[in-house]
Every structure is written in structure tokens, then in C-alpha cells.
Symmetry: C2
Subunit: 344 residues, 2 copies
């Protein structure tokens, strides 16, 4: 059974010794040149550089990592990271890490049940990376992860917030803005298509929606349950479109809003004249639905950068500099899918 064990010793590239021999110096001098640390006579340095160039030498990162105990690598643990929010965060994490001379190793958690996360965490265990960023670990709990102690970790919205340094978007403010906007337009009530029940951000958005209604003296209607996908928004939309009493829907993300709008469109209900729709996330395409979607924009770029900062601060033992929880503000973008209710 020759599975993946068939890895044999690869032919090595030129080593520091080869360069040293060619340049007529010791390995240590080559090391000095390559790390740029110590004093080396300009003539010697030039000779070493020429030798490096000639051999196409580049330092072996495994050996460096072994020597230094540091990989220059941050692990990124995510589930379904091809989704817009995750992809944008990932991009920002990679950029920020690069700016700090770190690279990013991706680990995709295929089955988000506890086992998948644990398996993933184990693979990226504390010797493989210097730190770990976890984005949207929806089902995971600190126990189910069993991460090695001492590994610097930063998480974004998820159940893990509170257990590890975290970056969270201001779900509450964003949801309040949405509700103020819709109720301000005169809608008698607002329906909500929520994200999956095991998602923390989804729960927060739903709770804020509910609280805002209650504070306005309105009894919250039954919540519609989606799973972030446009399909689920479409499915909920099939029922919503049949109820002429519904004039405003707050969707927990943009994809579900797209699904809802298609369902409304198919049932001949006009957006925004008959029904107002609001999304969440501010994905690039949200500006190009017809009409463009009113939504709450998240600053994924900043979220990614803050996540990296939290991890690297721990690495460099600057606990004083890193607050436990960074809140990134959100912004309501009022575009074309919201209007006063019909007959008003």
C-alpha cells in the first residue's frame, strides 16, 4: 500500500558548505552574509554573494526553522474559506503576514464537525507553525479543538471569542443601523433570514434584530432560518413572497439576500417598492444586483490585519500591546433595495 509514504530523500540544492567552498571562506561567513547580521569585509561579502549567485543558493528553511525554533509561518484554519468573507479575510491575512516576513499555510477544514477541526488542529500542531489564525470556526469549541498550549492564536467571529484574543466585526452596531433604517422608513415590522444556528455572528445578528423590534414595541415575527447560501435565501423567499404582509426583510448575509430577491422577483414582488431587502457583508457583487443591494459593509481587510497583529504580538511577547478583543466597525450602505413600505 504505497500511500503518500513514498517520499524519498529529494536531491538537495546547494548548501551553505558548497557556497563556502566556492567562495573560499567558512560556512559561518556565508551564514553571516546571508543573515546580514555580523560584520563582514566588503570584499569577502562580494565574493560570497557571487558564489551564492553562481550556485543559485538559497538558505534551507527547514534547517533554519530547526535552528531558530521558528518557522516564519502562520497557520490559517478555516471552513469553506472560498466564501467571500473568508476569502477576503484570508487575502488580508496573507498580505499582513507577508509584510512581517511570514508566510501563511492554509488548512481547510472539510467537515466542520468537531472531528474535522480537531484533525486540522492536530496537523497544524504547534511545531508546524509559529501561530494560528482561526476564522469562522462555527461549530468548534475550545475543548473540541484541543490546541497545544502556548501556541499564539487569534480568532475572528466564532464561539472561540472569549477564549482567545479575537477580532470581531461590530455585528450589533451594524444590525442596529439596519433596523433603525428600516423602521425609520415606516415599515411596521421587519422579518429576518438568519444564518445557521451554530454560528455566533448569525446568533448575534438575530438577537440584535429581535431586541431592536422589542425596543420599538413590536412583537418579533418568526425567524427564517438559512445557512448563508443563496439557495437557502431563495428557499425562504418562496414562502416570504407569498405573504403580502411582509414589507421588509433583513438578511444575515448578502448571498441569502440575492436568493431572496430572485424569489421575490419570480413572484412578481418588486424590490424595493413592495419589499425592502437588506444584506450583510458588503461583498463586491452586492453593488451590482438590480437594484443594488443595501447592506452592512464589513472591513475584512482590517479584520485580517488585526488577526495577524494579534498573533505576532503574542509571538514577540508584547501582551501589553494586544487587547484581548478588537472590534472592527461596520458601515451601513444604503443603496437601492430599501424604500418606505407600499401605500405610505
Amino acid at each position: 500500500m504505497p500511500t503518500a509514504t513514498g517520499r524519498s530523500r529529494r536531491k538537495a540544492g546547494p548548501s551553505i558548505e558548497d557556497v563556502a567552498r566556492l567562495a573560499g571562506v567558512s560556512a559561518q561567513t556565508v551564514s553571516r552574509v546571508s543573515t546580514g547580521a555580523d560584520a563582514v569585509r566588503p570584499a569577502t561579502r562580494a565574493r560570497v554573494l557571487a558564489a551564492m549567485d553562481q550556485l543559485g543558493y538559497s538558505p534551507n528553511r527547514a534547517a533554519r526553522a530547526l535552528r531558530n525554533g521558528s518557522f516564519g509561518t502562520i497557520g490559517l484554519l478555516a471552513h469553506r474559506f472560498e466564501r467571500t468573507g473568508e476569502a477576503l479575510t484570508t487575502k488580508a491575512v496573507v498580505e499582513a503576514a507577508e509584510a512581517q516576513d511570514h508566510s501563511v499555510t492554509l488548512l481547510h477544514v472539510s467537515n466542520p464537525e468537531a472531528d474535522g477541526w480537531q484533525h486540522a488542529a492536530h496537523r497544524l500542531s504547534h511545531q508546524a507553525v509559529d501561530g494560528l489564525v482561526i476564522i469562522r470556526a462555527e461549530q468548534a469549541t475550545p475543548d473540541s479543538l484541543a490546541l497545544p498550549a502556548g501556541l499564539p492564536i487569534a480568532v475572528s467571529d466564532s464561539r472561540l471569542v472569549g477564549y482567545y484574543p479575537a477580532v470581531v466585526a461590530d455585528q450589533v452596531q451594524g444590525s442596529q443601523d439596519v433596523m433603525a433604517h428600516l423602521l425609520g422608513l415606516g415599515h411596521p415590522t421587519v422579518h429576518h433570514i438568519a444564518g445557521p444556528a451554530d454560528s455566533d455572528p448569525a446568533a448575534l445578528r438575530a438577537a440584535t434584530w429581535q431586541r431592536c423590534l422589542e425596543e420599538a414595541g413590536i412583537r418579533p415575527p418568526q425567524v427564517w432560518r438559512g445557512d448563508w447560501s443563496a439557495e437557502s435565501g431563495y428557499a425562504a423567499g418562496q414562502r416570504i413572497a407569498e405573504d403580502p404582509a411582509i414589507t421588509a426583510v433583513y438578511c444575515a448575509n448578502d448571498e441569502m439576500a440575492f436568493g431572496l430577491m430572485r424569489a421575490l422577483h419570480e413572484h412578481g414582488r418588486r424590490v424595493p417598492q413592495d419589499v425592502s431587502v437588506v444584506g450583510f457583508d458588503g461583498i463586491a457583487l452586492s453593488e451590482f444586483s438590480s437594484p443594488p443591494l443595501t447592506t452592512v459593509k464589513q472591513d475584512f481587510h482590517r479584520i485580517g490585519h488585526e488577526l495577524v497583529r494579534l498573533v505576532l504580538d503574542q509571538l514577540q511577547s508584547k501582551p501589553g500591546l494586544s487587547r484581548d478583543r478588537v472590534v472592527v466597525s461596520t458601515e451601513l450602505l444604503v443603496r437601492g433595495t430599501t424604500a418606505p413600505p407600499p401605500g405610505r
Copy 2:
């Protein structure tokens, strides 16, 4: 100049020696248990496993990499990988790599001008990863990359195809299907919103569009030039919407189709009654525009898996098994944005 060099020796986790001592065996026996390779008596194995568990041991990957000359890591070089196609390909690459016990290190090329790619290639230089996957290296040329010789590489659609083993989507077939569909509906001609001029897939789609028109005896109209973004599709749409003679537009990707549709909508031109629109990629949201977008679906999942296979085949020196070029077929999805031209 203390740049990022301030990394000190991290406190090490438990080593194989610690486990050996606790279990009362030699380090080699621990190694055998941890690699699962050799024969170890069940009682001994159990003792070692218990010791590993108690200490929270996990093998040091740097040491392993140094020993084996292999990192178990594939590098992924991409520009703007947060876009749908890139993100889906990335996901598939990560999954496929994981299935082969490899992890994936992401490298984001921020400025795609030659320098950015070269810088990126240098960072991932041949000792850091066992192989390299390059997706959509639009501006890069083999010379501008200067990749280390002997590093297994696989590329997807880009100018690099032909220089390295490649996986390409069947742009030609997909474009032909689009043109046959639209012309078959009776449209007198078809306009095209192309991708950026330096993109190979964009060029291929545009060339096929042009050839199909010519073969039908139609003189191709001026091409509209976009940059893949919905914004650019919207910008082209502002002009297209003003020309009542235009009844069908083939967009080189879905995002631009979304932008076009919003522009058409704003100008009161109905899709598909007045204008037919076709996209390319088959992103998840394309099914949830109103009406749902007719598009050419690419199998990003398969593309990612083939890329990994090409790299790993080279790693295991199976040149016979890996063709130089894998073509992944595309599929026209006829949905709601295409219809016969008005008055027919």
C-alpha cells in the same frame, strides 16, 4: 538594522527524546510509532502512545523536513486570489493537497508587474516548498519569474501554459457553445465584453467569439474591454444600454455580466426580452441574479485537483503519468438571461 530578525529561539515543545524517556524506550522506537512504519510490539506501542499523549507531543516538522528533504508543502502563487475563480481553485488545491498529506502555503502577489511575481517566486524559493502551483499568472512570463530549476511546477490558464505542465479550462468549447446558443436564438450579432488584454483566457474567449461570428458570416462589432470587475461591466453597460441595436452580449465572466445587467436595468432595457446576456465561470451567485444568469460553468474543483496531481506526479518522478496539458471541459448552463431577440 533589526528588521524582522528579532525572532529568538522559541521554547521548544516536548521532543522525541522526552517521549522516549517517559515511555522507557529509545527515541527510534518513538519515531517508529509516530511514522507508523516499522513493526513495534503492541504493548510497546501503547506505552509510547500514552507517553505522547501525556506530553502533548507532536513531531517537529522542521526536523522532519530537514531529515527527509521534503516539506510536505506545496506553494500556491496567485494574484487577487479572493476572486471567485481563484478562491474556488485555491480551495480545491488545498483539499487535494491535504488528501495527499501535503499542506499549502499561500503567496499573494500584490503587484502583478514582473517584479512582484519575481519577488514572490524568490520567497517561495526551492527550499521552502516541494512544488509550486501558479494560478492565473496573467502578466508573468517564464523569464520574469526566474524560478529555480528542478522545482515541480504546475500552472493554470496563463501565459505560462506551454512552458510548464498546465491545467486549462476549455475556453474554446465554452465560447463556441455560447455563440451557437445565441446565434441559434436568432440574434443578428453578439457583442462581447472582454477581460483584460494581458489575460490569456480573456484573449482566448475573445478570439473564439470573433471566429464564431466570422464563420457565421457576421462582421464582429467593436469589442468592449473590461477588467473582470463588475464595475467594468457596468461601465461598458452604460454605453451598451444606449444602443438599441444590441440584442445579445457575451461577457467574459459573471461579474461583468452582473455589472452589465444592472446598467441595462437602470436604462429600462429588459433582460432577456430586449437584451440577452451570457456570463462565464458559473459562480455560485450567478444562479441568483434576477433572472438567473446563463453562463459557462468551469469545474474549478477539478482544475485544483489536477494542478496538485501534476505537481505531485513530478515530485514522485512519474513523468510518464502526467501529460503536459490537461484540458478541463466546460458546460453551458442555459438559464434565464437568454431569449430570442425582440420582434422575433
